[in-house]
């Protein structure tokens, strides 16, 4: 089946078996291997990409269902130089083996937008206050990304720094 997906700003038309997932389309057909496959079943978050701006597990997306959609991968976030989160992950050692890292960074990128949009989380004390990105809020919101090397302290430090910087920029 022919599918056209915009990946990192570029249109790609692929002829795919309907069984091909978005993750496999990226990795095996477009050779964008930055998105990782950790479980292939929505259980780890390694395959997280931005689909029309929102974070999703690309392993559970059939590529054919995303004709006309826009996908941003970890490679896309680095276009024109590494993104603030990518740099902060290095600076805070938010990685060890690095296998979960692209998923963490894509997830965090979208998560910060969710916070900005005021989405509550499971740990939010109230459903209608503006969200303050405390340790607990951040940890809950990032819990869809497993890291077996267990770099959560570094991951959280990196995201916190970028969130804080983003906030000061916004108020300037």
């Amino acid at each position: 089946m022919a599918v056209t997906i915009t990946v990192n700003g570029q249109d790609h038309t692929l002829d795919l078996d309907p069984r091909v997932t978005l993750l496999d389309a990226l990795r095996d057909h477009l050779h964008l291997t930055g998105s990782k496959k950790g479980c292939d079943h929505g259980q780890c978050g390694a395959c997280t990409v931005l689909l029309n701006g929102r974070r999703v597990n690309s392993c559970l997306c059939l590529a054919v269902m995303h004709d006309g959609d826009e996908v941003t991968t970890i490679e896309g976030l680095a276009e024109g130089g590494p993104s603030p989160l990518q740099e902060a992950f290095v600076a805070h050692d938010g990685m060890q083996c690095g296998y979960c890292t692209p998923g963490q960074i894509c997830s965090a990128t979208a998560m910060l937008d969710e916070v900005a949009a005021g989405w509550p989380s499971h740990v939010s004390a109230s459903l209608d206050c503006p969200v303050e990105l405390t340790h607990d809020e951040l940890a809950e919101r990032m819990s869809g990304n497993l890291c077996r090397c267990s770099c959560y302290p570094g991951i959280n430090a990196a995201i916190t720094e970028v969130a804080r910087r983003g906030k000061t920029e916004a108020t300037e």
């Binding site: 964008l32 083996c97 819990s143 990304n145 890291c147």
Partner: protein, 728 residues
């Protein structure tokens, strides 16, 4: 030229601290970090050679003789190129450092989940579907799968006894005699095991997810019937291993066999469910711990006896009591390991084999002793620090447990803690604190590394892997420090068997062992530079690309004048290990909240202080400690592989049901690394740190649960149902 060194005795001159560049030990970023953060780092499955085919493993659904009745029909399915049922495929997951083929075969399934066929097709989707269609008929054999239901083996070499423990127990003022259990566990590295094999008629090139290439190469060669010279393995990036990638894996051997048969590159990636079944797991343990102490809590006797399991034919037995040999004093000592031969997937090394479960349980027993004695748990440990190895009578190479305990207690704010449990309540939550000591044996293994030095900088080369442990960062620092180069001019190439054989990553040996080889290679280059300058190596100061000797100062590039110098280092273990007891030490402190309604446990904070010789990179070392402590959280609270009581299969073989800690399970962690130089650890005086953080960590958490709510749990993990049962 090569410098060879055997670690036979203490290093009397500390050369490392003389160096001038000032990069070793620093808190510096991983050179591979940005490649990982931008998706450019490529892992095993990410090679895509022209014409690559896709292989999917099919598992045995039962134990017994295997037949595939519809094999021909599957062969005829769209896109299918082969259904491989080769007797050389891996049966029992390979053990680390085996250096030869693991137990092979596809006709008899020794455990449920064993790979018994590889289906190869043109696309992954075709291969997956065809593998699912492949019927597997099992002529079932009734073999034992429950470790508690068989008569265990009692290998003599694994039993040791000094004095009369029974008498000590009878005569002691205080005794503890209790059983502790830990669960069957999985490494669950985030990168599933994967291989891409290419065969050009003479050479097999394999991209693999492996930890110890110099062994893996021989294992693969032996498995497929090639000589090692015809095998090359590449693993520049490995997505975690934790023991599960020590030995050659089923996917590697199957991919190689298929590539050789079909003459086309073949990729095999383990499905996450395979990962839980076809690689080594951490054995479940049942541990009886006996402590005999005087009224002040000073140990006079100690017993630690464990039941572990493995498949028949496997020599590995989880070395549960490894640290009990030297951790605490006591003249009467009985230690032993018994092995239940059962048909669950093979057991093998998982992060800190032995101590991860053994120290964890014995630190709960020590907490129980502290309560029996009415002595503060930190004080109880301080009272029980042996002067020398209590069994062998040899000295410790260095021993900083006391410093770690005191430092940790101070940073955590331990003093003034009420001894009695159930003292602090916040709403539904009982709050409590607990602690544990950490012990982990240290070892050096043989390793080689080469450095090529040229005008623009240095290139470090070894087949050593970086599985997240920081090899790239550390070797860069070691070489840059000794050669006086900026980090940016020091490149590190890893994970290729065409390079000199390093130690491999496992047992925390990597940084110190291969790092020492890098150190020696750099020292060799320093000698060559000194020779060019006509001075003594010791007089040479190398810094920022310049060499200073006496009152002359010259650019390194000028000294080389276009030449490339090569130095190789080769380190081997000597008899240091016989002369001293060498280990790493630490202390864990944990604060937990236990929900009085639901039995849920939440971590509130955790502190770890560790001592492991020279710290080569504070940032990566800290990350390793975080990792260990969080594995401790998993062991304490969430992780357990459930084996079906009828056939031993792993029931929860995915990441939705096998619960590794998620971000929200982890509280703020504080790690402190003590300054230490261990002269018996070679010229760098550094020891392994990758595993110390897990040893005992889960014990601190269970001790904190006890302090919080009064429930003494002796079975890991403390899931809500277990805590609730204790609360009811």
């Amino acid at each position: 030229m090569t410098i060879e060194m055997k670690i036979d005795g203490p290093e009397t001159v500390n050369r490392t601290d003389d160096m001038a560049q000032g990069v070793l030990g620093r808190d510096s970023a991983r050179p591979d970090g940005l490649a990982k953060a931008t998706g450019r780092a490529t892992y095993a499955a990410e090679a895509h050679p022209e014409g690559m085919l896709h292989g999917v493993l099919r598992r045995a659904p039962g134990i017994g003789a295997v037949r595939c009745p519809n094999l021909e029909a599957v062969r005829a399915m769209p896109g299918v190129r082969a259904v491989l049922r080769d007797a050389r495929m891996v049966r029992n997951a390979a053990q680390g450092m085996a250096d030869e083929a693991p137990v092979q075969g596809v006709d008899e399934a020794a455990y449920v989940g064993q790979p018994i066929a590889l289906v190869v097709a043109e696309t992954f989707e075709q291969a997956r579907h065809a593998a699912q269609r492949l019927e597997v008929a099992i002529e079932r054999t009734d073999l034992p799968i429950d470790p508690d239901a068989v008569e265990p083996e009692v290998p003599e070499a694994k039993q040791s006894s000094q004095g009369d423990l029974d008498a000590a127990m009878r005569n002691a003022a205080l005794t503890i005699d209790a059983d502790y259990t830990t669960s069957s566990m999985n490494s669950a590295a985030m990168e599933p095991h994967a291989a891409v094999a290419e065969w050009d008629g003479t050479t097999l090139t394999l991209r693999g997810a492996l930890q110890m290439l110099r062994f893996n190469r021989n294992e693969l060669a032996d498995s497929v019937g090639l000589s090692a010279e015809h095998v090359r393995i590449l693993a520049p990036y490995v997505g975690g291993g934790f023991g599960s990638k020590l030995g050659i894996s089923a996917d590697c051997v199957a991919a190689a066999l298929a590539a050789m048969e079909l003459g086309q590159p073949v990729r095999v990636v383990q499905h996450r469910r395979n990962v839980f079944e076809v690689n080594t797991r951490r054995s479940e343990t049942r541990q009886r711990i006996r402590l005999a102490a005087d009224a002040d809590g000073r140990l006079i006797g100690l017993g630690h006896e464990a039941l572990v399991s493995n498949l028949p034919e496997e020599t590995f037995a989880e070395p549960v009591v490894q640290a009990s040999h030297f951790a605490y004093p006591g003249a009467a000592r009985t230690l032993g390991i018994r092995i239940a031969r059962i048909h669950r997937p093979a057991a093998g090394s998982v992060r800190a084999p032995g101590e991860a479960v053994g120290v964890t349980a014995s630190e709960v027993a020590m907490d129980e002793l502290a309560y029996a004695a009415g002595v503060d748990p930190v004080e109880l440990r301080l009272r029980n620090i042996p002067e020398e190895d209590p069994e062998r009578g040899v000295p410790f190479s260095s021993h900083r447990l006391k410093a770690a305990l005191l430092d940790g207690a101070e940073r955590f704010g331990w003093s003034g803690r009420p001894m009695a449990p159930r003292q602090r309540r916040e709403g539904e939550w009982w709050i409590g604190t607990g602690m544990a000591a950490a012990f982990r044996v240290n070892m050096v293994v043989e390793a080689q590394a080469r450095i090529r030095l040229h005008g623009a900088g240095a290139v470090v080369e070894t087949d050593m892997t970086d599985i997240g442990t920081g090899s790239y960062a550390i070797f860069q620092q070691v070489a840059a420090e000794l050669l006086g180069l900026p980090l940016a001019q020091t490149e590190v190439r890893l994970g290729d068997t065409a390079l000199p054989p390093g130690s491999g990553s496992g047992g925390s040996v990597g940084a110190a062992s291969t790092g020492t080889a890098v150190w020696l290679a750099a020292m060799e280059l320093r000698r060559q530079i000194a020779a060019r300058l006509g001075c003594d190596e010791a007089e040479l100061t190398l810094k920022d690309g310049t060499a200073t000797a006496g009152n002359t100062r010259q650019d390194l590039a000028d000294i080389l004048s276009g030449a490339e110098l090569t130095g190789t280092g080769h380190v081997k273990p000597g008899d240091a290990a016989e002369k001293v007891r060498q280990a790493t030490y630490g202390a864990h402190f944990a604060e937990v909240a236990v929900n009085d309604v639901t039995g849920e446990v939440r971590m509130r904070r955790m502190q770890g202080t560790f001592s492991a010789g020279r710290i080569l990179n504070r940032r990566t070392a800290r990350s390793q400690c975080h990792g260990g402590m969080i594995w401790g959280i998993g062991m304490a609270l969430t992780e357990t592989m459930t084996h079906d009581r009828r056939d031993g299969h792993v029931v929860n073989r995915d990441l939705a049901e096998y619960h590794v800690p998620v971000n929200a399970d982890v509280p703020p962690l504080d790690v402190h690394l003590l300054e230490e130089r261990d002269p018996w650890a070679g010229p760098m005086q550094a020891k392994g740190i990758g595993e110390l953080g897990i040893c005992g960590a889960a014990g601190a958490i269970l001790n904190a649960i006890h302090h919080a709510c009064g429930a003494r749990l002796r079975d890991f993990p403390a899931t809500p149902d277990r805590v609730l049962a204790a609360l009811e």
